[in-house]
Symmetry: C2
Subunit: 365 residues, 2 copies
DNA sequence: CCTACTGGACCAACGACAGTA
DNA sequence: GTACTGTCGTTGGTCCAGTAG
């Protein structure tokens, strides 16, 4: 400042100049114009080079490339998507991202998206209330996403609201009840639940204890319904039905409660593998052998499950595939709407390890 | 189309009109102008309302709000950041996102960022090679991120490259060697390693087997150095030093190998909890009791670790805090550069559970 | 001079249409 | 006419004067 005021006071033009310069100080980034000037071509030619447009002479092209490198120019995706009137961004609304499943899903979605040339804009919501979902979707709309994937595990999130929240944007709902949206991508949790129960029944078990995840989660509810449908089919009723919070701790506590109540059971159906881990420990602590006294089945098939003590019999669902599938479906909605699947359902499978055995070989609780 | 051509063929002006309309069909989104018109004010006033600028009459303000709601208007973040010459986006370059730790970190970063009013742009790299990192950073620069957080667990990623790859953008490097960047946010893995080893030595162990994570990972290497520094201090050398891949499976295989080799050890230091889980199972399978025959210490303290069999003694590192800290540091670099910390280091702590006991109470391998 | 509002320039790119050789 | 290259208008906003009360 002091240095500048040494000279004679400048007149209008330079004054304006100064202001412009200060303005630019905020974020001086080299623009397409700088490159054009440096390469001695027009502004438009540079744009053509960037976008690999055919009609640019080879010589010009490489001259421009050189200029780009020399000036360390990075074309602005922001300006581009404004001019093109479309971004290459997909939105994700997630819930429960700190649980292993959803976290895994998000990571997979990310990589699937980038394979297809899209970026991801992500909003995690603390609750699946109407308000929060609305805000999340609004945030994504402001970012001009091309479509949205929603993890909507909670029933509360239910049908209508989601679709109506943004009727003009393609939206795929993941891991939810098939009827909540026009496009849904899910794992057949019901069949998964049945698989688990059938396996135990096949081993001769008749006394079941059920520990599901939070029943507000679609997956938890439907898995439980799967279990129950098999039991009913065999005219059995569970000795106990509990709910826990998906964590090992929750599973542990639930099983402790069962044991304190002296609930008789030889088969334990757990809503996921982490809870099953807690269950295994609770049983071991009481000296109840698995599968000798009690058989335990989990759900998910985490990479760790084969190394639990004992290795866990569980129902495998493939998060990676679910993510890939959801993303493919959304991309189809955007790029080739006529070919988009309404509902894609993944089938889980039973993985038998050592936590289950025929009934009646040992002491029961 | 047919309906339109019923009337007399339009002349030049309407023709031009048609073209404009077709152009707009691509993505008809309501703009700030539409809102202004609808509310009967200038578009500038609308902008003020959106940004909560004070000098707008209450009456006008609510009229504008009404128009916004009626037209379902969503201000374009794209246009805004172009005009403002800055986005509110932070970049994240991650590695190994399918591992539990990094996935956890990413989720936490996300929520920390949104608390501070930033969005996240995320790129995961398959390898930490110079090329891939360069591409990742380039992608982020195109998105005009304000700063970058890098998970740089690999030594190969080392010092200079990262800083020079984008010297003009604030960059925080996470979970890496303190000297790799100007701004680093990390956990003191060395102390963590020492904690684990000291605990075992305090219990009288002298025969150690070490199973670290991939030594190309900074965390793995430094944890190992921590272990070794304690052993040396007590004039001990490990009976065996192995490397595995962070997974339960890898830990299991490593311990199987130790047992097949008949390596004598009463204490097992594992590079993380998943590998420790594999180790526990390998030992149990051979009838070696933990902690009776062998004491095992892990690293991380996952939510599941207290429910392993037996509950795992481990070194706790807080991913959530690390993420929060990294993000705070980056935001500081951007918003208040003069107050930005160069290096923030988190201290891990020992969590003693039941997988460790004084030496010599049972059979050793 | 403050309050409330308006108009014009600008951001960094793209697309259509000309213009040049 | 074909192969390039440049000009102009546009995108949806923000920012900086300027103006009327």
């Amino acid at each position: 400042m002091t240095v500048l005021s040494l000279g004679p006071p400048p007149i209008s033009e330079p004054l304006a100049r100064t202001q412009v310069d200060m303005h630019k100080l905020r974020a001086k980034s080299t623009t397409i114009n700088d490159v054009a000037q440096h390469a001695g071509v027009s502004y438009q030619t540079v744009s053509r080079v960037i976008n690999d447009h055919p009609s640019v002479a080879q010589e010009t092209r490489s001259r421009v490339h050189r200029a780009i490198r020399q000036l360390d120019y990075h074309p602005s995706a922001v300006a581009r998507s404004l001019a093109q009137k479309q971004s290459t961004t997909l939105g994700v609304v997630s819930y429960g991202i700190f649980h292993a499943g959803p976290a895994q899903m998000l990571a997979r979605l990310e990589s699937a998206a980038s394979e297809r040339g899209y970026d991801l804009a992500h909003v995690n919501v603390g609750t699946l209330s109407h308000t929060q979902l609305e805000q999340a979707i609004q945030k994504l709309r402001r970012q001009r996403v091309q479509g949205i994937i929603v993890f909507a595990p909670l029933l509360e999130a239910g049908a209508e609201p989601l679709e109506t929240l943004c009727p003009d944007l393609p939206m795929v709902i993941t891991d939810a009840e098939p009827r909540v949206g026009r496009f849904v991508s899910a794992v057949d949790q019901f069949t998964g639940g049945r698989l688990a129960a059938q396996h135990l029944i096949g081993l001769g078990h008749t006394e079941f204890a059920l520990v599901s995840g939070p029943l507000s989660w679609y997956a938890a509810l439907i898995r439980q319904q799967g279990w129950l449908s098999v039991l009913e089919q065999h005219k059995l009723t569970p000795q106990a039905t509990l709910q826990a919070d998906w964590t090992a701790r929750g599973g542990y506590q639930a099983v402790c409660e069962l044991l304190e109540r002296h609930t008789p059971f030889s088969a334990l159906l757990m809503g996921n593998d982490q809870m099953a881990l807690g269950a295994l420990w609770a049983l071991e602590q009481r000296g109840l052998s698995v599968p000798g006294a009690v058989s335990v089945v989990g759900f998910d098939d985490l990479p760790e499950s084969p190394y639990y003590s004992p290795p866990l019999t569980t129902v495998r669902q493939d998060f990676a595939q679910l993510a890939q599938q959801s993303l493919d479906q959304l991309v189809a909605c955007i790029e080739t709407p006529e070919r988009a699947q309404q509902l894609t359902m993944l089938l889980p499978s039973l993985v038998v390890r050592s936590s289950t055995a025929p009934v009646g070989r040992g002491t029961r609780p």
